[in-house]
Subunit: 548 residues, 2 copies
Amino acid sequence: MNILFIMYDQLRFDYLSCAGHPHLHTPNFDRVAAMGVRFDRAYVQSPVCGASRMSFYTGRYTSSHGATWNGYPLKVGELTLGDHLRDAGMQSWLIGKTHMTADVKGMQRLGIAADSMIGARVSECGFDVWIRDDGLWGEGPDGFYDQRRSPYNEYLKSKGYEAENPWHHNANSGVDEEGQTASGFLMRHAGKPANVHEEHSETPWLTDRTIDFIEEKRGQDTPWLAHVSYIKPHWPYIVPAPYHDMYGPEHVLPAVRDEAEKDDPHPVFDAFMNGRIGKAFQRDDVRDVVIPAYMGLIKQCDDQLGKLLDYLEDSDQLDSTMIVLTADHGDYLGDHWLGEKDLFHEPSVKVPMIIYDPRAEADSTRGTVCNALVESIDLAATFVEFAGGEVPDHILEGRSLLPWLQGQVPDNWREFAISEYDYSSQPHAQTLGLAARDCRLFMVTTERWKFMHAEGGLRPMLFDLQADPDEVNDLATDPVYAPVLSEMYERLAKWSRRMSQRTTMSDADIDARRGKSGRRGILLGVVDETDVSEEALVRYRGPAAGRP
Amino acid sequence: MNILFIMYDQLRFDYLSCAGHPHLHTPNFDRVAAMGVRFDRAYVQSPVCGASRMSFYTGRYTSSHGATWNGYPLKVGELTLGDHLRDAGMQSWLIGKTHMTADVKGMQRLGIAADSMIGARVSECGFDVWIRDDGLWGEGPDGFYDQRRSPYNEYLKSKGYEAENPWHHNANSGVDEEGQTASGFLMRHAGKPANVHEEHSETPWLTDRTIDFIEEKRGQDTPWLAHVSYIKPHWPYIVPAPYHDMYGPEHVLPAVRDEAEKDDPHPVFDAFMNGRIGKAFQRDDVRDVVIPAYMGLIKQCDDQLGKLLDYLEDSDQLDSTMIVLTADHGDYLGDHWLGEKDLFHEPSVKVPMIIYDPRAEADSTRGTVCNALVESIDLAATFVEFAGGEVPDHILEGRSLLPWLQGQVPDNWREFAISEYDYSSQPHAQTLGLAARDCRLFMVTTERWKFMHAEGGLRPMLFDLQADPDEVNDLATDPVYAPVLSEMYERLAKWSRRMSQRTTMSDADIDARRGKSGRRGILLGVVDETDVSEEALVRYRGPAAGRP
């Protein structure tokens, strides 16, 4: 049994037809949902690429692994999915994006060479690399955002694209009226077709690499997990023909926003609303061109998913492959006067999570929707269990979702989900005049309530998801809700006290050693021979050793 | 400038004449106190050897480093005092005990050989080893408690002691009336002289090794920290002549305990009171023989400290050596119906902390007592600053004490001190029917209040240190104190949300990179050319790259 762990970057939970989008038809996502379970309340551990992904890959909260934002290196000592799966006899391969930054200092301290097998794995958060391409080949006066070689740029060049950076000039730009590059980074160009043949664009390219990988592995005995990690529908918002004009302003849903949100908003919310990104997505002309491009990118993802599913079916591998479809975070797209991700409203922090388990045990749940509170860290535990390993619950902080797939309701399932956000690298840190360490937000969501705590002495936010599913009425300043806030703070406190770092000893290790020191001669509270067994004393008996 | 970081194991804060003991005269501890500052409210991060020491050596709370009990390995990725001091150009040497257990699995995962320089350091929590001897050569039916070679046993053998385990049969046992070994593990023998020449016993042995070390280093340029870490006055409670009969029952202070403590006690407190150790120390006959031996061990420590101070003075090194005297935890000795350490009453969790800084900047505070709330993790930051390094406050969780030594009151000094205790390896975990992960206690102490939270759904404890300095009236169940409890829970929550794992990025690293991604081509919220500088777009300009 293998695992295809497919991640889309910045895919909103509700931009799929199976999740109710009225205009965007995604038959292939829907097909997996019909084969498996769609989790309707899946939250990421942080609504930003890097931190979220490090949580998926370590199975741990962001404040546990410490890589709390893009480019903050993951500590060399953090165990990853790759470590746990290899222990369970499963390979762990990367095809695409991780946003991982290696802990170079930590590696130097421990004498780990980057080009050794071990060094390569810890540099790639535990994966063996089939393809690593983060899809962020932005380039400015200080050089490239990403310092690595770009397999995708090399691919485009091999196909005859002649620009220095065809990722930008072809795949992520259009052409203007004068024949000049119309960069996809300028959102006014979002409606143009990208200057690339569709089959050479990023999503088909990665799909083809995935099929290459599976072909290469066919017939080999060792099971594998492949993390197929697409950069799309992430910005730049531009898509090749024919996807660029499949949708228009008539398919753009009204922004979920309310003037009341601008009335004495939470200071962090306010800073984001008034930032450049928020301001841009408050414009209808921007939404009307960006959202259709975003939908086109998703439609292309869906078609490519179809290609992959057909390949698996045609090659008789669908019965032996778990398929997971998810995202690292969503996209505000103008909802709540915001763009991008970062905060904890549903369009940002909730993600699609569809799991197909091919085994007969999962037959009873096929095509169902599960509304349990799920966290992205649950996937690591799910994969370890699926691989036949024992979930190391002193390291992994999530829980296996397999029982849900098998129609069981696990005991003591969580009553609240957590997400965290470190905005210390954002300009808003300065706007708010906060030290980097105080730029931390915590979300606690129960079935009914969503709560945000902000460090730095700022007030909380509170939404009643039942009465106000659109999350436009912040109740935190209304004294009526003081008892709810108090409960939410209590939940946050309980979670904050969790044991996250005792990772060298499991509960079972401890149970096995408890009380054993007495049998190694450590006799405490022993007054005389009546307090202890003959056996315990045997090495302490005999004539007194003389002195020289 | 060098540092002698001297630790005694299980030395109570109040068993020194400078701290007010009426019968135990410790002129050499007092001499250092007169040369420096005695911190009167210094708390360890956990009242148990291993966890406490790992906090001293990492400068981090036990729930941050994860080595929460004796023998729980310190993660290979945790940085230590040795790492930070070497960065500041200071060597870091170990002479004595650490209770460190290497993270063998973690080392294997990262390919670190135990016999490499790097492997040796991470196995010894960052120290270079002059002598490592934990002084726990207990031996039972399952073998030795400590699997290493014992330098001290080898020393005794070299001096002609012929027993297989002279640590036990000589240094830690007496001789009974029949000429048989009278093991110091049986407390009824505590009054006997240990069967060893005083100059061969553990404390003089380690003092001599320390002087050897300093002699070896004299004239070398690189400054050093030496962690001189005595096993005494830790059990077995037995001491060689003449120290074995310097004190008698007439010098034993009454136990600080009250019948009221047994009335509906906190379940964890109750379990410890009813354990073998608690029961033994409730007996006056046990206290009357054990406490004089404990005092004799301390008296010997004091005499050996005098030898070391005289050596430093005679060799003109007293002006160039910072001296720190402290302990990893205290000893209940029957107070509160308990023996040993483990819980958070002052005799267990508060430690001696005397710091002599030879530099002129510290002249104004010599001989003073400081009652600021100090945590053991403050020492690591103190040493880094003393060594001339910059305190990496995204890794070290304590604060430098140097300002206090220089008569300054640092801004925003902590208003509460924290300690933690993981009793999962204790039999009480089973008595209470708790899972290992729920066997966790947290102490929060302010100037006035001491609070304990217990995981596993147990109630808290609360003492008013002003009204009840003996800590015999637990106020936690009295509704009058609900507001105080609530404040203490709020303090615990605030501390629990601390940022402890973002250790690969400092605040300064973040400030330096903030806003830089735009200069590497990541343009967000940009609608058209008016939103962004010409320079930012320069790499994105030019005629559109053709397609093949």
